[in-house]
């Protein structure tokens, strides 16, 4: 019986609080069509879009690297002129870091986090949609520079003075700076969403120490974004002010400091690589227990390690500047923190090793990618301390040795888990398993190709080949290894292609997955494959870290009320719970589909284009439209009273 103190009578279904699939369907389903395509706020649809679009940018960034590798396959080739090469290597970095890695890992997070914590959606569904549209808009914005052959060409790190208006007089660097400011809006919005969702929407009983490690990984990533991304945004704002408005921040002549750019960039840039790696480590921690048929050993250590990596990661940025002539005392301190940051990563590796040893590893494709990830991430993690040692870094920095290191930790440490995640979770998204045999083929092609491509780079770096060079001289003995790397790149690309074909093929022809093909332990498997729009019939009550292993009543048909399930009346609402212990606090109504995220993005795109073409009329009008869109977004629908 509802208790109301004055006011309107409760909607039907709310009387008892029980939910039925019919009621939930009625309140949650989105009618298919173009309108829904532009206005959806369903985290699962948005998560998949992030995945598809992010993987499209993987292909684009990958093609950029293949073309570069052709140019580098022999000394003194003229396949590419230096300007084109410089554009390619700059965009390869920007694309892979900002348009592939973070969006794809956010995509997994978007899809999985509400499911894993037993919620019906993210905390801010419209903000979620907005984050995707901005990501797409920023990607388009960056690549329209390609149409005028003016892709950013000063490197993904864009050092001043090379990137100032004297030495980069075209719009290339403006596309870079404005594009990054633009995409920063998406990353920030997404991170705020993740933090609030994870802290306030967990199913009752899912205290923080029962939360899946993958969710901890997304939380660590999101917190890192909040405190690291402003450094990049600021750097780019200052750069544009200097380039366009004649301000002085980085130019020595005007009393500025070129190193200010490097500090700001790397204060962002180093946490950035950890925020790419942290969710990926979370994917490993999701797959290993399942595929070893046992709970993770050292859960607490892994969680603390994830948080420690995020935290210590803010204290190491100067190690990218060891060769700039900074005072030795500061360098020494940073060298120490750079050595120490290895420890939490090591802790995670050893926890996984213990779990693998104690458990029964099942060598299906997701596990192969995780094993490959461990091997590659460890290799990268072993060249890392070499770079933390100042004199050794001063030899190998800016050489191919560093290129080897960061590709091992970023491709090995993030891309391999992403592919493991594809094989592991796409069956939940589509209801069909990917082909196992072709999955193994893809893995081996990728593993062999990757090592053939990147291992020799350690050697070439030691032999003196600098990075960011469009060619190299004959007679240095670098040709053979470079050719091997080029071949390896194509093998790796082929392996990636095999997975994509596998994915497309299996969407229609794969074996039906059922709700839990891997017999996993976390809540996303307590739904149908794919899940209903409303995710769970009843918000479950959680009593364990491995709910599906310890609570047999959990399954795709909802947890019964007797076991703790809460239907919330089957309405368009979700449960808000407390921060630490996840006790129920509020039944919050959720927003419906809305056109405003899309419209606001279009307005913002207009602002950024207006800035890059230097038309103040254009961007002012677009800004006004943006303000109107924000007003439309917040305008109450139907009710006058605040909800």
């Amino acid at each position: 019986m509802a208790t109301t103190v004055g006011g309107t009578p409760p909607p039907p279904g709310v009387t008892t609080g029980l939910a039925t699939p019919e009621l939930l369907e009625e309140h949650w389903s989105e009618t298919p069509g173009l309108g829904s395509f532009l206005t959806t706020v369903d985290h699962k649809r948005i998560g998949k879009r992030y995945l598809y679009t992010g993987l499209l940018f993987l292909v684009i960034g990958g093609v950029e690297s293949l073309v570069m590798r052709i140019q580098l396959s022999h000394s003194n080739l003229h396949v590419l002129d230096p300007e084109t090469y410089n554009q390619l290597f700059s965009m390869h970095g920007v694309t892979m870091m900002f348009l592939f890695a973070t969006p794809v890992l956010s995509g997994f997070g978007n899809y999985l986090v509400p499911l894993m914590i037993g919620a019906r959606d993210m905390a801010f569904p419209r903000l979620n949609a907005f984050g995707y549209w901005v990501f797409l808009g920023a990607g388009i914005f960056f690549y329209t520079s390609f149409l005028v052959h003016r892709l950013p060409d000063a490197g993904w790190f864009n050092y001043t003075p090379l990137s100032d208006s004297v030495y980069s007089s075209g719009p290339n660097v403006d596309f870079y700076a404005l594009g990054l400011i633009f995409i920063g809006i998406s990353t920030t919005a997404g991170s705020i969403n993740f933090i609030v969702t994870i802290l306030k929407m967990r199913a009752p009983g899912m205290s923080l120490n029962r939360m899946p490690i993958f969710v901890w990984g997304e939380l660590a990533m999101a917190l890192t974004v909040v405190f690291a991304l402003p450094a990049l945004t600021l750097a780019n704002i200052l750069l544009e002010l200097e380039r366009r408005a004649g301000f002085h921040f980085f130019s020595a002549a005007g009393g500025g400091q070129p190193l200010l750019w490097q500090h700001l960039f790397w204060i962002f840039g180093h946490p950035e690589v950890y925020l790419v790696v942290l969710p990926a480590l979370g994917i490993a921690s999701a797959i290993i227990p399942t595929m070893c048929r046992r709970p993770m050993i050292g859960y607490t250590y892994i969680v603390l390690a994830e948080m420690a990596i995020a935290l210590i990661g803010f204290g190491v940025w100067v190690h990218h500047m060891f060769a700039t002539g900074l005072p030795t005392i500061g360098l020494g301190f940073i060298s120490l923190t750079s050595f120490l940051v290895v420890i939490p990563s090591g802790v995670q590796i050893f926890a996984w090793l213990a779990t693998l040893w104690a458990g029964k590893p099942v060598l299906k494709t997701p596990m192969l990618f995780i094993l490959g990830f461990i091997v590659l991430f460890v290799i990268g993690g072993l060249s890392g301390p070499m770079l933390a040692a100042i004199p050794l870094d001063q030899q190998v920095t800016d050489s191919y040795f560093v290129v080897a290191h960061f590709h091992y930790v970023l491709v090995g440490g993030a891309m391999f888990p992403i592919f493991a995640g594809i094989y592991y979770w796409v069956p939940k998204m589509t209801g069909r398993l990917l082909h196992e045999g072709w999955g193994k083929v893809s893995f081996w092609l990728m593993f062999v190709g990757f090592n053939a491509l990147f291992f020799p780079m350690h050697i070439l770096g030691l032999r003196g080949q600098p990075r960011r060079t469009y060619t190299y001289q004959a007679g240095l003995g670098w040709d053979f290894l470079n050719l091997l790397e080029t071949i390896g790149a194509f093998v790796l690309a082929l392996g990636i292609l095999v997975t994509f074909v596998n994915w497309v093929w299996s969407t229609k022809r794969g074996r039906p997955a059922g709700p839990n093909p891997w017999e996993a332990d976390t809540l996303e498997w307590a739904t149908t494959s794919p899940p209903a729009e409303y995710n769970f019939e009843n918000i479950p009550a959680i009593r364990s870290r491995e709910p599906l292993w310890d609570q047999p009543e959990l399954g795709p048909h909802g947890q019964p009320v007797e076991a703790g399930g809460r239907g919330l009346g089957g309405g368009h609402n979700t449960l808000v719970t407390s921060l630490l212990e996840a006790e129920p606090e509020v039944v919050a109504p959720m927003p419906h589909e809305s056109p405003w995220p899309f419209l606001l993005t279009a307005a913002l795109l207009g602002v950024f284009y207006g800035l890059v073409i230097r038309s103040w009329v254009f961007w002012t009008v677009a800004a006004v439209l943006g303000v109107i869109s924000v007003a439309g977004w917040f305008w109450p629908r139907g009710e006058t009273q605040e909800t």
Binding site: I297, L336, A358, S383, P385, P391, Q394, W444, G514
Partner: protein, 349 residues
């Protein structure tokens, strides 16, 4: 065993490889051979960090080899444990898998925090001692030479006032201090076989200890992305005997010989003089490299081509085809004038 073949996951195809013959095992067997071949390959090369030719570089390799050995050992341990875990898992039952061994968490702490921490802190302290040695050595130089980075060449200033470009002479066996500056963007001075690099940053005066143990030619390159021709901004360090060095820079400080009048006139009255200096003539341009003793250098264009008549003619006529993006414009001359200009330049010894 029937159950094993069917697989634990209903509906999921089984693996096809009995233990020991699987792809993982195959990879494990070939990996050491490949690794050995690659490691041996790293040692060669005239610009190799691990073939040090001077004390600074040697100081770094003294750190490198222990780190490599430790890294290899750690990797072997992790890879070994992974392979064994995969292999042992095949013989286990599901119930065995759920048993949590008591050594589990202590292992994480001891290996992950204790042993790793000790190794890391140990290497940190070891590396600090190397930093100290490198800094100290740079404080008492025998010779100080100034190098200024330009897009995409190196200006060299010797202690006796001589100005040169691209090829840097030093006395072997002596401590040389390079004072490093830049005229435009950030560059970085790196001769791998002689020691670590350091950046050249506008508004900042960095310095580097350069020392070659023996006479010879040592190759290097700019190591900070500086634009279109970063890849072709090469360094040649020529270490002479100390006596040879003194003689070399003495000659370098003198103005140029008169040389063939025809070629010299062309140089002074064509665009050459607007950018280049040849001391002793009217050409006093400061945009490009000083060419007073150009023909004593082995290469042109900051190392991009050997200095031959043909290469020089080609460079003058169309520098963009050799080093696209370089500041020098094409100089179109009739063939006989080009020849006499080349002859003049080749006479600048």
């Amino acid at each position: 065993m029937e159950r094993e073949r069917e697989g634990k996951f209903p509906g999921v195809p089984t693996g096809r490889f009995p233990s020991g013959r699987g792809p993982i095992a195959a990879g494990a067997r070939t990996l050491p051979a490949v690794a050995a071949a690659l490691i041996v390959g790293a040692c060669g090369g005239e610009t190799s960090i691990v073939s040090p030719k001077g004390p600074a570089a040697r100081s770094v390799t003294g750190l490198w080899w222990p780190m490599l050995a430790t890294a290899t050992a750690v990797f072997a341990f992790v890879a070994g444990m992974l392979l064994l875990a995969a292999a042992r898992g095949r013989r286990k039952s599901d119930d065995d898998a759920k048993v949590t061994p008591r050594w589990g968490e202590p292992f994480i702490v001891v290996a992950g925090v204790g042993i790793s921490g000790a190794i890391l802190v140990g290497f940190f302290l070891f590396s600090l001692s190397r930093v100290q040695a490198l800094t100290d050595a740079g404080r008492r130089p025998d010779v100080t030479i100034g190098v200024i980075g330009h897009d995409w060449w190196w200006e060299v200033r010797y202690p006796n006032g001589a100005t040169s470009a691209n090829e840097i002479h030093i006395p072997a066996g002596r401590k040389v201090r390079l004072n490093l500056d830049t005229d435009d963007v950030i560059h970085s001075f790196w001769v791998p076989s002689l020691g670590p690099k350091i950046d050249m940053i506008p508004g900042q005066h960095n310095s580097l200890w350069l020392e070659a143990a023996r006479p010879g030619v040592y190759r290097g390159q700019c190591a900070e992305f500086c634009g279109l021709q970063h890849a072709n901004m090469l360094i040649r360090v020529v270490a002479d005997t100390p006596a040879g060095f003194d003689a070399w820079i003495a000659r370098e400080a003198e103005p140029a010989d008169a040389g063939a009048a025809g070629g010299r006139d062309l140089f002074e009255h064509q665009t050459c003089a607007g950018c280049h200096t040849v001391r002793g003539t009217q050409a006093q341009g400061k945009v490009g490299p000083d060419l007073t003793h150009f023909a004593r250098r082995d290469t042109l264009g900051a190392g991009v081509k050997p200095r031959t008549d043909e290469n020089l003619a080609h460079w003058i006529a169309d520098p963009q085809s050799v080093k696209p993006g370089v500041t020098m414009p094409p100089i179109t001359l009739p063939a006989d004038q080009l020849d006499s200009l080349v002859a003049y330049l080749e006479g600048l010894r």
